[in-house]
């Protein structure tokens, strides 16, 4: 089901059993939530953009790849290129403690045992959606910063690294073998691009960005 109302939560249902998928979808419809069905893990990986969904509902026992492996893969890809991963809820027909611990350690939001009470399911989904609502803006601001960083020239990026490390213009000049004046010029241009005034503010904004993203 395509996304019609952007204000309503959009859920991805990944389950090999058509009955389960359809019944869950109907249940979500009673709340006017939207959803998308995926039979296999590979379908999801190939066609969907994780950030489009507010929550992922994954069955642990699915063909090709277990639900946990799918979640693993998504996290791995997000590390390679910055992407937003919404909270994930896991279903299993026969849950056990080690599997639950593993899933939660990998960042799963919750763990539900089949057959699940519909009320428990809705509660868990609501909780997940609220987590999504909280974390999505932070991610978005970070991605903006990253876009700006991507627009910097190579030299500017070097200067920026030095600034974030807390060096003065003179030190930066001697490190990069350029004059202090040039450093000052770079610094001014960087501030313009980030639309901020001082270097202190710049360092504060860049603090939350993980080092891997820098590299990319």
């Amino acid at each position: 089901m395509s996304k019609t109302d952007p204000t309503m939560p959009h859920i991805a249902i990944i389950d090999d059993d058509a009955g389960v998928r359809h019944s869950t979808g109907m249940l979500l419809e009673t709340r006017n939530w939207t959803y998308a069905e995926f039979e296999r893990a590979t379908d999801f990986l190939e066609t969907a953009v994780p950030a489009d969904f507010n929550c992922l509902l994954i069955d642990v026992r699915i063909p090709d790849m277990s639900g946990l492996e799918l979640f693993d893969e998504l996290n791995r890809r997000a590390k390679k290129e910055p992407r937003y991963i919404p909270p994930a809820l896991f279903f299993t027909g026969h849950g056990d403690i080690p599997m639950a611990v593993k899933a939660l350690r990998q960042g799963a939001c919750d763990f539900l045992e089949k057959p699940v009470n519909h009320r428990t399911l809705i509660d868990a989904l609501t909780r997940a959606i609220s987590v999504d609502n909280a974390s999505r803006p932070i991610y978005q601001s970070q991605s903006q910063l990253l876009e700006v960083i991507a627009s910097l020239t190579a030299r500017e990026r070097e200067v920026l690294t030095e600034i974030v490390s807390g060096y003065l213009s003179k030190q930066i000049g001697s490190h990069l073998n350029i004059s202090t004046k040039t450093v000052e010029a770079h610094r001014l241009r960087i501030c313009q691009k980030f639309n901020i005034r001082t270097s202190m503010e710049l360092a504060a904004r860049l603090r939350d960005i993980s080092p891997e993203w820098w590299e990319n």
């Binding site: 009955g19 389960v20 869950t24 109907m26 249940l27 026969h94 519909h118």
Partner: protein, 784 residues
């Protein structure tokens, strides 16, 4: 150094060349001396020949001079006869007489007339004596004619008339041949003897020979044969004698030197003989020297051998004189006792090798030896060596006898038996150890004779474990399951009295007298059997757990499969109830949800059905089998369990085949489960009394309804809860799953049969199942 020269001379004697050199030198010296002797001899002979020729020449001249004197005188006197007259004749006779007296060789002087007739002469005779040759002798006539012709004195040829005679014809008148002649007759023998001086005769053998080498004088009456000239040419000297043409010659020969030549030959022969003798002696000497050398070498070898023998002798030898003083010790004794030879020889009792603590024994032994009391087996004594170590020795003494039977002393030999003693002790202790080990052994050891099973040895353990009769040494100990004629093998058996299990190993070994005997070693294996049983039980428990885990996995799979439709149903019901709560009711949605619910529940039913068909897939193969044959596999599988519990399974199967159309594996499983249940029931129940099977299996055919009934009856405690018996997961066993009987029933029912339980005739439970079997008609049809 001495040794080297000794060796050198030995080599010289042994080698050949000194002997050759000696022979050579001898030969050369002999040759030189012979040559020198020969030279001296020839020189001597030459000088003698020279002297002979000189002497002969002198003699000839002497004789010829005398003859010439006579001739001249006769010529003068004959000349005087020209004046014939008696006085003249008488004067002539007297002159001639005187001449004849001076010359005895002149035996006759005749005066002949011109006719050759004797006128007168000396000696006076009437008839001419026989010793004188007749005047008419042709030789004389010839001489007269020659004389008259030459008108000078002429000698006739030699006339042999008793003695060789020589006639000188002297003409009376030179110019008047008719005056006649004077004949002077010489006896040559006489001439020779008269004219030759004594020394000549002494030195030489002189003879007068004529032209034909005929010896004329001395005339020995017989005409000697002329000796071969070649033989004599170099031994005598010859000189012409007399006037030319007389043909006479003088021959002189040194007095026969025959004996000296013989001497020479004898001497040579003697020298040669001596030489040969010397050679022979040399060879003899050489041989003798060689033999002597060989003997010497053999002797020295023998001496060295004796010395080595004495050195290497391990027996100590000791000689006492008649008074008990040591007069000889051998090196072995010295090394045994540690005293030097100098110390020991000349020692008298008490000896330094007598230990203080055994002094009395030693004194007694010494006294006994001197008294002549020497036992054949010797005496055992304790001695000490120079370091104070005690030695155990065996002493043998014997009298030292030389020539006469009186003993000159005592010869004693000592054997060091210390090591032997130690070995004997070690042997005894090792024997004790062996007995101790055998006694302490956990295994029971038993040795018996092969022929009659007579007990030869058994250890303490065997005595403790197995009771034999009082006449134990003559009875057979038979083991269950191993007859006495088995010579090798091993069995396990249970002793009925104690209940212990034993492993018996039998083999044939060689006993101390080298005869083969049976060695039985029985080891108590009750503990290890128990341990093995425990291990097997643990193993089974593990397998059981694994089966449970598999079942759990299976159940998980089923649960997951069922969970899916159940979850969907749950969701749809939530959806339906949600739509029911909303006004206005969306009946379409509700109906859809309800329809989907029924769809999902049907799906759940299908899942269960497919699962059943999956399980039942195995049971589809139905073939014809003999039910009796199907018993074999379960019995084989259960035999170890029965043996472990010491139980037996009896089964009663008809001889003829009972053919059943079935899945062999499944029926085998059913039989296995039922028999196993029976065995387990007996194991937990009463103890089995002997000779009765714990579980009995029977097959009975009911020909009327073409069916067969199989019953498995046990002696357990019976069925406690008959209603629940066939319910799945109902079990009375601690580790049971409660599926066995349920499965059995399912299998039998899938074969169109029936399985039920009833109280058994043996006090326990009885499980029976009935299967339809092929009738004989069907069988024959099938065969067609």
């Amino acid at each position: 150094m001495q040794h080297v020269t000794h060796n050198l001379s030995q080599k010289l004697i042994q080698s050949r060349w000194p002997w050759l050199a000696a022979s050579l030198i001898l030969t050369v010296s002999l040759f030189v001396s012979t040559t020198l002797g020969w030279l001296w001899y020839t020189d001597q002979r030459d000088s003698a020949a020279r002297e002979l020729s000189l002497d002969l020449l002198w003699l000839e001249q002497n004789v010829f001079e005398a003859l010439s004197d006579n001739e001249r005188m006769l010529q003068n006197w004959a000349h005087d006869l020209q004046q014939s007259g008696a006085g003249k004749n008488a004067e002539f006779v007297s002159l001639v007489n005187g001449l004849m007296n001076e010359n005895p060789a002149l035996i006759a002087i005749d005066v002949l007339d011109k006719n050759g007739r004797r006128r007168f002469g000396l000696p006076n005779y009437s008839e001419r004596p026989k010793r004188l040759p007749p005047i008419s002798d042709p030789l004389i006539t010839d001489a007269i004619q020659r004389c008259l012709a030459q008108k000078k004195p002429v000698y006739s040829r030699v006339i042999e008339q008793y003695a060789p005679l020589w006639v000188l014809v002297v003409p009376i008148a030179d110019d008047a041949p008719g005056q006649g002649v004077v004949l002077a007759t010489y006896d040559l023998d006489q001439l020779m003897s008269a004219q030759v001086p004594w020394w000549f005769v002494q030195r030489y053998d002189l003879s007068l020979i004529d032209r034909d080498n005929k010896q004329l004088s001395p005339h020995d009456g017989t005409v000697s044969e002329p000796e071969p000239a070649a033989n004599q040419s170099d031994e005598f000297h010859k000189l012409n004698f007399g006037p030319d043409g007389s043909g006479l010659s003088l021959r002189a020969r040194a007095h026969p030197s025959g004996h000296s030549e013989k001497l020479l030959i004898t001497l040579s022969a003697a020298i040669l003989g001596c030489t040969l003798l010397i050679f022979w002696l040399l060879r003899l000497l050489q041989r003798w020297l060689r033999e002597r050398l060989a003997a010497q070498q053999a002797l020295s070898h023998e001496l060295r051998f004796r010395e080595a023998m004495e050195q290497s002798l391990v027996t100590g030898l000791l000689a006492f004189d008649i008074h008990g003083t040591i007069i000889y010790v051998n090196p072995a004794l010295c090394s045994m006792l540690g005293f030097s030879e100098q110390i020991l020889i000349g020692c008298k009792a008490p000896f330094p090798f007598w230990p203080e603590q055994h002094l009395l024994d030693c004194i007694a032994a010494h006294a006994a030896m001197l008294a002549g009391d020497n036992p054949e087996q010797g005496r055992r004594l304790y001695l000490i060596d120079s370091r104070g170590t005690e030695l155990s020795v065996r002493l043998f003494a014997s009298p030292l006898v030389s020539g006469d039977s009186n003993p000159k002393g005592w010869m004693v030999s000592l054997y060091d038996t210390t090591e032997l003693q130690k070995e004997r002790e070690a042997l005894a202790s090792s024997r004790e150890q062996l007995y101790a080990v055998l006694s302490g052994l956990d295994a029971a050891v038993y040795v018996s004779q092969i022929s009659d099973g007579k007990l030869l040895f058994r250890n303490r353990r065997h005595t403790d474990l197995f009771n034999l009769d009082a006449q134990a040494d003559c009875c057979l100990l038979s083991w269950p399951g191993l007859s006495h004629d088995t010579h090798r093998g091993s069995i396990e058996f249970q002793d009925r009295q104690t209940g212990s299990w034993y492993h018996l190993e039998r083999r044939t070994i060689l006993w101390v007298d080298s005869s083969p005997v049976l060695l039985d070693i029985a080891t108590d294996i009750s503990a290890s059997r128990k341990a093995a049983n425990t291990a097997r039980e643990r193993d089974e428990l593990l397998q059981h757990t694994a089966r449970l885990a598999n079942l759990a996995e299976f159940a998980t799979g089923i649960a997951h499969e069922l969970n899916q439709p159940l979850a969907a149903i749950s969701n749809y019901s939530a959806v339906a109830s949600a739509y029911l709560d909303v006004t206005p009711q969306d009946t379409e949605k509700i109906r859809q949800a309800v329809a989907l619910m029924s769809e999902e529940s049907q799906r759940a039913g299908k899942i269960i059905q497919s699962m059943r068909s999956f399980i039942q897939k195995r049971a589809i193969r139905h073939d014809l089998h003999n039910l009796g044959d199907l018993m074999k596999v379960p019995l084989q599988l259960l035999a170890p369990l029965a043996q472990r519990q010491n139980k037996t399974i009896g089964f009663d199967v008809p001889d003829h085949a009972i053919l059943v159309e079935c899945d062999a594996v499944m029926i085998e499983q059913v039989l296995f489960n039922l028999i196993r249940n029976g065995l387990e029931a007996v194991a937990t129940g009463k103890k089995q009394t002997e000779l009765v099977d714990a579980v009995q299996v029977k097959m009975q055919r009911d020909p009327e309804i073409n069916s067969v009934t199989v019953s498995v009856t046990d002696r357990g405690r019976g069925i406690q809860d008959p209603e629940k018996l066939f319910q799945p997961f109902y079990t009375t066993k601690p580790e049971g799953m409660g599926l066995g009987l349920a499965i059995c029933r399912t299998v039998i029912e899938s074969h169109g049969g029936r399985l039920w339980a009833e109280a058994g005739s043996l006090g326990g439970a009885c499980f029976k199942f009935r299967l339809s079997c092929i009738s004989k008609k069907d069988e024959s049809k099938n065969n067609e």
